[in-house]
């Protein structure tokens, strides 16, 4: 079964009702005077579910910080005003994509969400803002994980005082 077919199946299986985002799509994303994003709790919850769908980390370790908090910090602080607007537009487009795919984010399986996303990314003329949003959430979710205490200590073996230096070890 190719991805397009999978999407079609998901749509059929989920019926005709639009579940998508609960209240989230009824709220307009706001901007603060300085151009930063102001997301309400429902948006933040939705963003968290997107991040979890892209990179499921629930239950992995308490030493991984909240991805939503990190994503919002990085988007608002380390992006240009144009990039922040692109992120917001892409967010709306993402919600629309889910809506069109009849996916309810709270209930949809992560694999269903990602199938829809990957299909959208493979469109002949994918939406630039949508791609930016998806890439940002994915990349920042990855960064949140790989720069976490959990990953740095368990995988990178980070120590504040590093192990003694050896210039040429056998591997």
């Amino acid at each position: 079964m190719d991805r397009r077919e999978a999407v079609r199946n998901i749509v059929l299986a989920s019926g005709a009702t639009i579940f998508l985002t609960g209240c989230a799509d009824r709220n307009v994303i706001e901007f603060l005077a300085d151009g930063k994003l102001k997301l309400n709790d429902k948006h933040l919850d939705y963003l968290g579910r997107i991040s979890e769908a892209f990179l499921p980390i629930e239950g992995v370790s308490e030493k991984i910080g909240d991805p939503v908090s990190f994503i919002m910090t990085m988007v608002n602080d380390c992006s240009s005003t144009g990039q922040i607007r692109q992120f917001a537009t892409g967010f709306e487009q993402y919600k629309m994509l889910m809506k069109e795919s009849r996916l309810k984010i709270k209930k949809a399986d992560a694999s269903e969400v990602t199938t829809v996303v990957q299909t959208a990314l493979e469109e002949a003329a994918p939406k630039e803002d949508l791609i930016y949003f998806i890439s940002s959430v994915r990349n920042l979710s990855i960064r949140n994980l790989t720069s976490s205490e959990y990953y740095m200590t368990e995988y990178r073996e980070y120590q504040m005082i590093p192990e003694p230096y050896e210039p040429c070890i056998n591997v």
Binding site: L55, P167, C168
Partner: protein
């Protein structure tokens, strides 16, 4: 508190630290003026013991700050963990007559917290360069004049290095070096076998690989290679004015430190032809205060040193103190750091590095050393880095696929060694390169804005191309592949090695300082920071500034005793 001192030192950075250390140790009641706040060793290193995940932006600087401060944002060392030590472009404006990224550290200790800690001596190939090649003016000193002062500084600072026996890079007083990697050894051997006169050595650095008694007396301990040096090292594993010279001077009881002190000018007494003191503006209250002294050391950092002298106008010196010949602020120069080269080494795949070291390899200058062999003057040194790090899983797809690609396997050594070199080229001081004061615009303290004009020239462009050709050839011979060269086209300044403008020389008509760093025309004023440099050479200059400062301070003390200044 009396406003009279035996000596005043303007600027509490790398060279100023050495000036006060020497002056205080020899019994002079010394006032140390610093325009920025006090920063105390350990106490004022707020990020030193933070883990990487504790930084809100994981080291990245917020976009707004980068936009507002484009010059420092281009500096490799400006990061979330040490941004508080950098002067923001917005806080201290200057005028770029030509693009110049001015990297500054306005605090007690100056830039000695953020420096790269590279400490290579100069040789007579450097001091004799201008006379041999016919640029700038002849240095009034030679290596033998500075050698004992290099030794004195090195012993106190603590320099890790090898005695390599190279005439282009004189040996010093070294602590043990760290061993370099097998790839370094390989490259070293390739140079030895195929490129006579070219060497790859351990880059000497100001780190305590094996502390001696003098370092323990400073309260410093062994470097543990955290390589988070720019945050401040609570161990004192590397040298900084914060951990070393300034506390040492304080222990003598002869030091008075006054932070938040913007030096407006040096006051000249026409009756005896000497400087009598300095006029200071309190950075916070804007109160104007005068301090007097018998001798004044100017160590404000090359560009600020020039600006203070230019602003020290009097009837006798209408164009700035000591500027009897109109050369003050001219012949400024920098280092050409534009050229980079990278490659990979597929060999030694069964070897890797464990842990970290605070330095790398160093290729001393090999061009135009014994004879002029190219169509450009002087030459370049280069760093040589070879590293191999554990690579995690390549993030793939979405969902569980993505998670498993990251967490499924632990990072391991699977990629090749990454090789890199960066050029450190000499630039030729030119009269057309200058630092001036603006006639109209002033800063928040009423000081004229500084105007800077420095640029690359044809000599620099030829040098960059030669670096690419020579290093490509050496890399190929070493079997490195995927060789890529890159000209960053960066503006002057990012080397953070501004030099000249108050150059030393024999002749008062063509220079401003004599062989003891005294202003030719105002003998109790000494300039011993980067501004005194007659030429630039290729080596990182801080060690030479420190040696020059120590030498000049000793001379000043002896001259005061003999009532000669």
């Amino acid at each position: 508190m009396s406003n009279h001192f035996d000596a005043i030192v303007i600027g509490a950075g790398m060279s100023g630290g050495w000036s006060v250390k020497e002056l205080c140790e020899q019994g002079l009641k010394t006032l140390l003026l610093e325009r920025g706040p006090d920063v105390k060793h350990i106490r004022d290193y707020p990020t030193a013991t933070k883990n990487p995940w504790e930084f809100q932006h994981r080291g990245e600087m917020p976009h707004k700050i980068q936009q507002e401060n484009p010059s420092i944002a281009r500096c490799y060392a400006y990061r979330e963990d040490n941004a508080h030590f950098f002067v923001k472009d917005t806080e201290h404006a200057y005028i770029q007559d030509k693009p110049f990224d001015w990297i500054r550290g306005y605090q007690v200790g100056g830039k000695s917290l953020m420096w790269a800690r590279q400490t290579q001596r100069w040789s007579d190939f450097d001091f004799e360069g201008p006379a041999r090649d016919g640029f700038a003016v002849d240095w009034p000193i030679r290596y033998k004049d500075l050698a004992p002062w290099y030794s004195k500084v090195e012993k106190f600072v603590g320099i890790a290095g090898n005695r390599d026996g190279l005439d282009i890079l004189p040996d010093g007083e070294f602590l043990p070096a760290w061993d370099l990697t097998c790839v370094h050894d390989h490259f070293k051997q390739v140079l030895k076998n195929h490129f006579p006169g070219r060497h790859m050595v351990f880059a000497r650095c100001a780190h305590l690989s094996q502390p001696q008694e003098i370092h323990l007396q400073q309260g410093r301990g062994q470097c543990v290679s955290r390589t988070e040096c720019e945050r401040g090292c609570p161990i004192g594993g590397y040298f900084s004015a914060y951990s070393s010279t300034i506390p040492w001077a304080e222990k003598t009881g002869n030091l008075t430190l006054r932070p938040h002190s913007v030096v407006e000018s040096i006051l000249f007494n026409p009756d005896d032809g000497k400087a009598r003191g300095v006029r200071v503006i309190d950075a916070n209250s804007k109160e104007v205060i005068e301090y007097t002294a018998n001798v004044i050391f100017v160590n404000a950092g090359a560009i600020n040193t020039i600006s203070i002298l230019l602003n020290s106008r009097s009837e006798h010196f209408p164009d700035g103190l000591g500027n009897h010949n109109g050369l003050l602020g001219k012949y400024v120069a920098f280092h050409n750091y534009r050229a980079k080269i990278n490659a990979i080494c597929e060999d030694f795949g069964d070897r890797a590095v464990k842990g970290r070291i605070p330095t790398s390899g160093y290729v001393p200058r090999f061009r135009n050393v014994y004879r002029q062999e190219t169509d450009f003057l002087r030459g370049y040194a280069s760093g040589f880095g070879a590293s191999r790090w554990k690579e995690g899983g390549e993030p793939t797809g979405f969902g569980e696929t993505l998670r498993d690609s990251i967490l499924g396997t632990k990072p391991e050594f699977k990629g090749p060694w990454r090789i890199n070199s960066h050029m450190m080229g000499a630039t030729i001081p030119k009269e057309s390169n200058y630092v001036k004061l603006d006639d109209v615009q002033v800063d928040d303290w009423g000081m004229p804005l500084i105007k800077i004009s420095m640029d690359y020239d044809e000599n620099d462009e030829k040098m960059i191309q030669d670096f690419f050709i020579q290093f490509t050839e050496m890399y190929e011979k070493a079997g490195f592949t995927d060789i890529t060269t890159r000209d960053t086209k960066q503006a002057a300044g990012l080397d953070i090695h501004e030099m000249g403008g108050v150059r030393m020389g024999h002749d008062p008509e063509t220079s401003l300082l004599n062989q003891w760093n005294q202003l030719h025309s105002c003998k109790n004023v000494f300039v011993t920071d980067g501004a005194c440099m007659t030429s630039t050479s290729t080596q990182n200059p801080s060690l030479t500034y420190m040696a020059i400062a120590a030498r000049a301070a000793d001379f000043a003390v002896q001259a005061l005793k003999k009532d000669e200044i």
